[in-house]
Amino acid sequence: MKKFKKVISSLMASALVVSMLAGCTDAASTETTDAQAQPAQEASSSSDNGATFKIGAIGPLTGGAAAYGNAVCNAAELAVEDINAAGGINGYQVEYNKEDDELNAEKSVNAYNTLKDWGMQILVGSTTSACSIAVSEYTKADNMFQLTPSGSAEECVTYDNVFRVCFSDPNQGIASAQYIADHNLATKIGIIYDSSDVYSNGIYQKFAEEAKNKNLEIVSAEAFTQDNNTDFSVQLQKAKDAGADLVFLPIYYKDASLILTQANTMGYAPTFFGVDGMDGILTVENFDTKLAEGVMLLTPFAADATDDLTVNFVKKYEEKYGETPNQFAADAYDAVFIIKQAIEAKGATPDMSTADLCEALKTAMTEIEAAGLTSSKMTWDASGEPNKEPKAVVIKDGAYVSAE
């Protein structure tokens, strides 16, 4: 039960980080006539009235989940700087502001209101699921466009004005099955999941469905609960006896670290494949990282990738913030550029009202095809869920390396 709470809180943390990036343009009234819009555009191109797009971000900048919130807010800031340096969006510069929500849903709403007072037109955030969900009630009421980089709970995109960059929790199951099938990682798959956890259960269900479509054979699917998570010998033995050459672990790294230890003790060495909950396995204090060697996990971003976009991003981020960017940073950086692309697709201007801008972006999101750090091809449907190629990393010498 207590562990469950911890899990929930870390989920909330990640959700918060996500919602920070969307901002809505707070320009002149939406019902602007052509006549009004025309002068505005002229004015801005001559930089007379200095109209700007105002993008805000929300995330936990302090407290236990600060790593997520700072990653999102830093990367969004970096993206805005890059855009401004390259001439802005449609010729308009972008202003950026961020607010701390301390991983607390009420504070996230306060942060949203503060940003709105500042004049935010588009919100990138919140970073974590629970905060993102709380804020989406308000963006819906205000009809402000919200793009959460990392809010992965299904409910984050309940409303039509909210989109996300990352996969939803259950969709990680689909993405994992696709990845395993596309890369011929295994033919016989064992699964160990936490039946007392919504996150783990959801991913497992979707994975099982998709595995069937992809002709992957699931030879054992064994559950455990948060009250019975010390001994995994039976689950591992069953997978071993069934001849599983890959064990899918849609669980958090805490339980995974015990599973890896026990598999090692019994001399069972399949490929272990995890999802974002596995991220953190290398940070367990005193954990022998050799045990995690060869573990794969589904993640949209690996800082060591060699494509120009990633190399540039990592270099700039490290120079400016002194640390290697993680997947939250990559999601947030992409989020700002996705907003740019959507604005450009509709030729939107800062003088549009927040609601008009939101309507324009909602349509634009379903039409654009974005390329970024987390995928070379992302599309969205009206539900707000992204459609993109899954990526994975493998742990090698105690570090994440692109699996490609």
């Binding site: 001994d231 039976v234 230890t261 005193n286």
Partner: protein
């Protein structure tokens, strides 16, 4: 062959329950109180070993000694501050509730000091274990050691209780506190000694628990503690050999029901056993029927 593997897995889980149940049943048998904080004494022991080993770059033996000493002190202190003043309370529930309070207190203090993040515990047992049938069947070193340590503790406790003056005093206190006082036995001192031994056993159980399942968090002791309580009841609470048998039976039942019935239902089965035992034979496998004298 695979049945044997599962049986051995059950044995290794059961041996852990057994060694925890020894401490439980010892305290219950003498002091007639359920120390629900026993599982958390185990957790404290694990953290002490972990911290000392880290400070002394991996010297776990010193860690175990220090953990035994500190856990003993913790047991004595807890008994003195939290349990002793309530011993005369009108309802035996008071001390039971206090024990639950102590349990949460310890967990939350650990949470405050060490944080919620799990730590990976380095096994104090370096021995790989026994291997049969060309490596097909493996008994882990920690399992063998746990069973041996349990047996040693079992024999030592039996000898201590039956052969020494202090042990006899414990039996007398267990039988009738009032009469024991009249016989010149210092009841408070005797119960304090019981707690000291029980808590020292908790530290040893912690070392073995975390060696078998090397993930340390403030809640490490909670669930194994409760399962060990079931084991103690199954074996006959208050009976030292009963705790050993109860623990082994429980571990084997848990693993086999996970294997052949359902991995999700195993806890339901384990606690179902508790209900059945209480209905059919409330005194457990080796428990004595105590006749109420009028």
């Amino acid at each position: 062959m695979s049945f044997l593997t599962y049986l051995i897995n059950g044995l290794s889980l059961g041996s852990i329950y057994a060694i925890i149940a020894l401490g439980y049943t010892m305290v219950y048998g003498i002091a007639k109180m359920l120390n629900f904080a026993h599982g958390d004494f185990i957790m404290v022991g694990c953290y002490i070993i972990f911290s000392v080993s880290a400070a002394l770059s991996g010297n776990s033996l010193v860690g175990i000694v220090i953990a035994v000493v500190l856990c003993t002190l913790l047991g004595i202190t807890t008994e003195f501050i939290a349990y002793r003043p309530l011993r005369g309370a009108a309802s035996p529930l008071a001390v039971l509730i206090t024990a639950i309070g102590v349990s949460y207190l310890l967990e939350n203090v650990a949470l405050l000091i060490f944080g919620a993040d799990i730590k990976s515990f380095t096994s104090v047992i370096k021995w790989e274990g026994l291997s049969f049938a060309g490596g097909e069947l493996k008994i882990q070193g920690v399992t063998v050691i746990t069973i041996l340590v349990s047996l040693v503790i079992l024999i030592a406790l039996q000898l201590f209780i039956n052969k020494t003056k202090q042990g006899q005093a414990m039996l007398a206190v267990a039988e009738d506190k009032g009469a024991a006082t009249l016989m010149g036995i210092n009841v408070n001192k005797t119960i304090m000694l019981t707690f000291a031994i029980g808590s020292a056993l908790a530290a040893i159980a912690g070392a073995l628990l975390c060696s078998a399942y090397p993930s340390l968090s403030p809640y490490t002791g909670a669930m194994p503690g409760i399962k060990a309580f079931v084991a103690a009841v199954l074996g006959g609470i208050g009976s030292v050999p009963g705790a050993m048998i109860g623990g082994l039976v429980l571990g084997i039942v848990e693993i086999l029901s996970k294997t052949y019935i359902s991995s999700q239902l195993s806890d339901a089965i384990v606690f179902g056993i508790l209900v059945v035992v209480l209905l059919v034979k409330p005194t457990g496998i080796l428990g004595k029927v105590i006749q109420e004298k009028v």
